[in-house]
Amino acid sequence: MAALDVGRVQVGDGARRLYSRDASVIRGGRAGVVCFPETTEEVSAAVVAALDHGRDFVARGAGTGLAGGAVPCDEPVMVVLTRMDRILEVDVARRLAWVEPGVVNLDLSRHLAGTGLHFAPDPSSQQSCTIGGNVANNSGGPHCLLYGVTSAHVLAVEVVLPDGEVLVLGDEDGDSVGYDLRGAFVGGEGTLGIATRICVRLTEDPPEVATLLLDFMSVGAAAETVSAIIAAGMVPAALEMMDQRVVQAVEPFVNAGYPTDAAAVLIVELDGQPAGVADEIRRIEELASAHGARSVRVAADAGERERIWKGRKSAFGAIAVIKPDYYLNDTVIPRTKLAEVVERIYEIVEEQDLIVMNVFHAGDGNLHPLLLFDAREEGVMERVLAAGEEIVRVSVAAGGVLSGEHGIGLEKKRFMSLQFSPADLEAQQCLRSAFDPSGRANPAKVLPTGASCGHVTSLGRLPDGAWV
């Protein structure tokens, strides 16, 4: 590996072990050479060196992915992008910024403090995940209900293609002429090349924000309220649901004043201009009470709003007191099927003698059932996997999709044929092959073809600051 300065290449056992895992429950192969490039040219050189040596390559950001997208198979060259962490340019007037892929998501919005702008995608791991990883996974977050997932916030991206060529896809000004190669690249999970510079769209901070806490005596009533809000023509900035087990687990930590006897609570965030927000608060109060809400609390100030959100964001941390291990699933269903599918998830989990906590992006029907277990129990992994598979099957049967924001990676590629026909998958392969004719970029991921790799195991530790 003469492509990189020797100080930026690691071949020791420690590094190879460290970079063989991400935040998922998936175990694959072993990292080969681990590279830490600092420039686009070095990324390209690392890719070319991998090809010259007949190796695959796998790009990696902070490793917070939950689908095994950055897990190596077959000793690939690992291209770790965390040293490319500079915010290159912020253009406040044009509301865009150029960043390197290793910039941490939340660091960009922190950097923008005082400009009246922020980067809208807010995945749960935003304290540690990188924007390059967000691009690879087309990441979401609670506020993408109104603002859209990462793809809607990437104007252009400089990429190193799998043959080492460097191209800029997209345009600072928005839609460019010809195929939307930028749109095709975002969400490619590292199989289409490596993003080395990203031009992101910045979003204006809303002048008015209101956070509401609604509480219900049944999950069904909460779910119906979600549908009613959307059907009434409102698109809140965020619309989240937490079930009783989550509420009971987090309330002792955050003292947000969640009603621990409620079957489910909804957090509704409205933003925009004052009259519009006030009007939507009134309409949501009416809809909620018509659908059986016991109470609707509007956060009186920023402190109360923060506590309501802190509870939502603490769910992941609070589980440790219940069970040491977790498996977090991610599917999307039509929101009108929320009550029915969540009920079915409770049954599935009961059948497998596991514990589930449901805390999710209800507004866009994005379920996040969190299965809790103790990996030391014999045979528990089989039950976890069986429950996970059944949840995926139920979601697809309800008219849903395999993933709303975590991606496919290794975790769900075996389920791709549940949602897609062979012809559908062939069309996806056409897209992939055009970017990567030689099949060296993160192979064995996403599409259920090629080599098999990866198995699910347990994980006892959460990434710092992560929430579901």
Partner: protein, 289 residues
């Protein structure tokens, strides 16, 4: 979809004729056999924010039906445009700042590929990262990768009130005094802004803009040609601020495209259509903007 599938078949140059409103775009269909896409609104689900519609349906028919439910889709085109044609052309609506880019509007597409087989791109839900984002690739591809038969689109609520204002002010000043305007246009002297939302919020913003000299005004009639913003407005041109699109009396020449992009695009086209039978005469890079 069955009739559409058999009409497309698996051999011979073929294209879908929509409303024909921009038929020559990208070089025209190159003498390909013309077929029609399915017509009609199959399923409108306000609580899902989705509508399933045949690609041959006109935009006006779809818009009329959606408006009954207080909804719209982030698409626009000349009178007579079809849903499929508008997606194939891939130009975002003038109000993209509110309704999103046209690529964000297409959630799922039932297509026929060059081999004559049906396939589905994307998924039916508003949020979906399952597999590759084929929908984005199809939008703006001028029917050169696959032919659109039936699509699921994201709907959005129509704002309660809307109002165009205009005045001889720099666009940056207008942007500094508005929150998320739906559209900002500039002809080199006058800036127009479209405000949508709650009536009281619009009044409040209009009050602020009045101090800059903006008053209620009809938006300009846009010239029919297009070009990319190059830092200078051509005579008679109107810039869609923030989108890079200039509406101008005649089309600009196609923008320069780097060889690397052309090569990747050529690989993409060959990958989907190895025999070159889909809209053989059209080149998505041979358009002005």
């Amino acid at each position: 979809m069955g009739l559409f599938l058999s009409a497309v078949g698996d051999s011979g140059a073929v294209c879908v004729r929509g409303g024909g409103t921009r038929w020559g775009l990208g070089g025209g269909p190159g003498g390909a056999r013309e077929v029609s896409a399915p017509v009609g609104i199959m399923s409108l689900q306000p609580a899902e924010m989705t509508v399933m519609v045949g690609a041959g349906t006109t935009l006006s028919e779809l818009s009329d039906e959606l408006a009954i439910h207080g909804l719209e889709v982030g698409m626009e085109g000349p009178v007579g445009s079809t849903v499929g044609g508008t997606l194939a052309v891939g130009r975002s609506a003038l109000r993209r700042r509110r309704v999103g880019s046209i690529a964000d509007t297409l959630l799922q597409a039932d297509c026929v590929g060059a081999d004559g087989a049906a396939f589905t791109a994307g998924g039916p839900t508003v949020k979906n990262v399952t597999g590759y984002d084929l929908c984005r690739l199809l939008v703006g591809s001028l029917g050169t990768l696959a032919l659109l038969g039936r699509v699921i689109l994201r709907t959005r609520p129509i704002a309660a009130c809307s109002c165009w204002l205009g005045g001889e002010v720099e666009p940056a000043e207008v942007l500094g005094s508005t929150y998320r305007p739906s559209c900002v246009l500039w002809d080199g002297a006058t800036t127009w802004v479209l405000l949508e939302g709650h009536g009281e919020d619009i009044d409040a913003t209009a009050g602020k803009l009045a101090l800059l000299g903006l008053t209620e005004a009809e938006p300009p009639v846009l010239p029919v040609g297009r070009g990319r913003w190059t830092g200078r407005l051509p005579d008679g041109g109107v810039l869609e601020v923030g989108s890079g699109v200039v509406h101008q009396p005649t089309d600009a020449g196609p923008p320069a495209v780097p060889d690397g992009i052309r090569n990747l695009a050529a690989r993409m086209r060959t990958s989907f259509d190895p025999s070159g039978r889909l809209n053989p005469g059209r080149d998505p890079y041979r358009v002005a903007a």
